[in-house]
């Protein structure tokens, strides 16, 4: 994080891996040429742009990350059905609310992931981030118990993200 001047050969291993994956999926083939070209691009782009990415991502627990991804996908499906019912149901009964979620996460990237997850799981949309005061403002479509919802978001989404990305660098 501190050595901006010294160039590393592989500045962002996770990003490189991700780019190679995207390249292979986009070219829709697993031929040798695609591996070669994708591998070159996945090395070259992070290498030549590394001064724009001062924070390096470290993933501590890849298995937990996969579990988290599956959990979020499942939540998206379940919550989508719930919100569809809410939208088609009697609209006078909806109880919208703003919630302030105090953040324990420190890194920009992890906070972005949390905000994206909250917006993707329907029923809640993150609308404002106050970094100074350390909270994320979230609007809920139908919230019966504000405190319980905040606690659920924190335990269900924030804690796994914290474990996956931030445990080793406090």
């Amino acid at each position: 994080m501190t050595s901006f001047a010294r160039k590393k050969v592989f500045p962002h291993k996770l990003l490189s891996l991700f780019m190679l994956g995207v390249w292979l999926v986009m070219s829709n083939s697993l031929g040798f040429g695609q591996w070669l070209l994708g591998g070159f691009l996945a090395w070259a782009i992070p290498f030549f742009t590394q001064s724009f990415w001062p924070q390096s991502m470290v993933m501590n627990k890849p298995w937990l990350a996969i579990r988290f991804l599956l959990l979020v996908l499942w939540d998206i499906v379940v919550a989508n059905a719930q919100v569809a019912v809410l939208i088609m149901g009697p609209r006078q009964k909806l109880q919208p609310a703003f919630m302030r979620i105090p953040l324990e996460l420190k890194q920009d990237f992890t906070i972005t992931l949390l905000a994206n997850t909250i917006s993707l799981t329907p029923g809640t949309v993150s609308v404002d981030l106050q970094m100074n005061e350390g909270y994320l403002l979230v609007h809920g479509l139908h919230v019966t118990d504000v405190d319980a919802t905040i606690a659920e978001i924190k335990s269900r989404y924030e804690r796994p993200l914290k474990e996956i990305f931030e445990c080793s660098n406090p």
Partner: protein
């Protein structure tokens, strides 16, 4: 292509279209700006998701080769849709657009200017 496969593909397409329809209905049915913000996020997640799964099955079965590049559509939508919703919401928050009276914890009523 077998009949069963066509039925499965049609089911996924219909499911996606249904959620896109419900998301659009949400835009007209819900009362205030912040509640309407929830509609489009629905249409992008399961609506597009269902159609993408249908497309993957159709092209994988038709060409006898796994076709996965539709997944990138979902990936980029999942990255961009929350960001645009966030910015639109932030702008509405800044303008203090009128919202339903029963909304709790309205930020600009709690501590003056936010």
């Amino acid at each position: 292509m077998s009949f069963l496969l066509e039925v499965i593909i049609s089911l996924f397409l219909l499911l996606g279209a249904l959620f896109a329809l419900v998301g659009s209905l949400g835009l007209t049915r819900l009362q205030d700006f912040f509640m309407r913000l929830h509609g489009p996020t629905k249409a992008t997640t399961l609506g597009v998701g269902g159609m993408i799964i249908g497309s993957i099955i159709y092209f994988s079965a038709g060409d006898n080769a796994l076709s996965m590049h539709e997944l990138l559509i979902a990936l980029f939508l999942f990255i961009t849709a929350p960001v645009s919703a966030h910015i639109v919401g932030k702008a509405a928050l800044h303008r203090q657009i009128a919202c339903e009276e029963r909304t709790r914890n309205i930020p600009w009523q709690q501590n003056g200017d936010d």
